[in-house]
């Protein structure tokens, strides 16, 4: 599903590479934690998958896309097959819950009758039925993140990328969000989650890829956060 082959990324403003000869392969339906301290290259890793960045060396494959080599024109196709969730939710404050989710479909030109059908479905999946007409400011942090997850998942992406999705949430709420991500993972969606949250990584016992100074220093099939330190 996802394959990085000897990927290096050097930013113009920095002498040290953000990623240094990274090779990782993730199968379809896997749940992968991407851990490491700030500046270890997690964000660059995720941005390469979305083609927000192009690698300096190496190849990046997502599904059938040769991400590093593809033409700009095809980038929207790639991104339509990847869902994204962030620490800061990134919801539109002027739109309701349902409108926020619908927005993701509207801007890729989905027909109206599809939108009115799938938006309530996905809101039910994330446990927000009954709150369709609320505005983001009227929701708790956990609920806002559910909206963001609904928006990321509504187009049934092959991959869900979550960049510290629990970074702004308390432990109980974080646990709920993780359960939701697990449910999404069980539908066959590959989930890659960057996090600093020890508790979550330790309790989930999923694959852990640890980065340090742009290198993969650990890749455990059923890992914990703090092993070996």
């Amino acid at each position: 599903m996802i394959r990085l082959e000897h990927v290096s990324k050097v930013y113009k403003t920095s002498t040290r590479p953000a990623l240094d000869d990274v090779s990782v392969e993730v199968d379809k339906g896997e749940f992968v934690f991407l851990i490491g301290p700030s500046g270890s290259g997690k964000s660059t890793f995720l941005r390469l998958l979305l083609r927000e960045e192009v690698p300096t060396r190496g190849r990046v494959y997502v599904s059938n896309f040769d991400v590093a080599k593809m033409s700009r024109r095809r980038v929207p196709r790639l991104r339509q097959s990847i869902g994204c969730v962030f620490q800061d939710f990134r919801l539109l404050p002027t739109k309701t819950v349902a409108e926020n989710v619908a927005f993701a479909l509207e801007v890729i030109g989905k027909p109206r009758n599809t939108i009115v059908k799938v938006v309530p479905e996905v809101l039910q999946l994330v446990g927000l039925d009954g709150k369709e007409d609320r505005f983001p400011t009227e929701l708790s942090g956990g609920e806002q993140q559910r909206v963001a997850i609904a928006r990321a998942f509504v187009n049934r992406p092959l991959v869900l990328i979550a960049d510290e999705p629990t970074g702004n949430l308390d432990p109980d709420t974080s646990q709920d969000i993780m359960l939701l991500l697990e449910r999404i993972n069980r539908t066959g969606t590959t989930v890659i989650m960057a996090t600093h949250d020890h508790g979550i990584v330790d309790s989930m016992r999923r694959r852990v890829v640890e980065l340090a100074y742009g290198k993969v220093v650990r890749d455990d099939a059923r890992g914990v956060y703090g092993v070996g330190r």
């Binding site: 979305l50 700009r72 980038v75 929207p76 196709r77 790639l78 991104r79 339509q80 097959s81 990847i82 994204c84 990134r90 539109l92 927005f103 993701a104 509207e106 801007v107 890729i108 030109g109 027909p111 109206r112 928006r151 187009n155």
Partner: protein
């Protein structure tokens, strides 16, 4: 592509920075209005040239002595001058007009200005040969041959007067077009700026759009249409401005000249004919500026 979505984005965008939008529309309108004014002057000059072509005459004005004593041009030197004129090559017709006929004609031309007529006396009007040439550009031949001859007071070339008049109008046109150009430049910068502000205030939306895989067109089209809509509103205002200018200002100051047939009136039809160009210019400029701005300054 969902048009309703794009349209609602456009409306939100224009409303969100309404002061910038108004500035953009006003500048565009003034620029286009000046351009329209320049184009109207061009049309007027064309019309006048068509009007006068073939009608231009050289007037050979006779001295006071001849004017007062020889009403039918039977005596010398009048009769001799006439036959000489008729024999000059390139002359099509020669018409003699005595003092009384000349005064009647004067009264007709200036009937709209009774004050002027009150002051005028027939003695001020000389008897005149009105000479029509086969080639209106060859007036100098008559001037050289007859100026200074006995009985001739002077040779008056309508073409020369008209040339000066056209020069004046063309100057007016150039000023209007130069001002239009300067305003267009200001409009251009404003359009570019408005789009940048617009893109900045909508960066979260645009960020999400890119992330969920909206195509470049989908993210950029609202901004482009925003600019074009403002341009079209500017063009509408410019046309409205021209109509109002004609109705309340131009018609009043040029009434005398147009009624006496000296200059052709500018009609609403002329404005109608000019306005598609204004719309075209508005759309092309706003769309191009928008597109270039998005390409160069806004990362979408």
């Amino acid at each position: 592509m969902r048009t309703s979505f794009v349209f609602s984005e456009v409306v939100t965008g224009l409303r969100r920075n309404v002061t910038m939008t108004i500035a953009m529309i006003l500048t565009t309108a003034i620029s286009l209005g000046l351009l329209g004014g320049g184009l109207l002057v061009v049309r007027m000059v064309d019309k006048m040239q068509a009007n006068y072509a073939g009608k231009l005459e050289v007037s050979v004005l006779l001295t006071n002595d001849v004017s007062a004593n020889d009403k039918d041009c039977t005596q010398q030197p009048c009769a001799g001058l006439r036959s000489q004129l008729e024999q000059t090559s390139g002359v099509e017709t020669v018409v003699f007009q005595n003092r009384d006929e000349g005064f009647e004609r004067f009264k007709r031309i200036f009937e709209a200005q009774p004050e002027l007529l009150k002051l005028a006396r027939p003695e001020a009007i000389p008897a005149t040969f009105r000479v029509k040439l086969e080639d209106p550009d060859r007036t100098d031949v008559i001037k050289q041959a007859f100026e200074g001859k006995p009985g001739v007071k002077g040779v008056d070339d309508q073409g020369k007067f008209l040339e000066r008049f056209f020069e004046g109008l063309n100057g007016l046109r150039d000023v209007a077009l130069i001002l239009a150009l300067i305003q267009a430049f200001a409009a251009l910068l404003l359009i570019s700026n408005t789009i940048q502000v617009s893109a900045f205030t909508r960066r979260v939306e645009v960020g999400i759009m890119r992330l969920v895989g909206a195509t470049r067109w989908y993210t950029q089209l609202p901004f482009l249409i925003e600019a074009v809509v403002a341009g079209i509103i500017g063009a509408v205002s410019a046309v409205a401005g021209l109509v109002l200018f004609k109705a309340f200002f131009l018609d009043r100051i040029t009434r005398n000249l147009t009624e006496s047939g000296i200059i052709p009136p500018i009609g609403y039809l002329d404005i109608l004919i000019v306005s598609p160009w204004l719309f075209l210019v508005a759309i092309v400029i706003s769309a191009t500026t928008g597109y270039v701005t998005l390409r160069l300054y806004v990362r979408l």
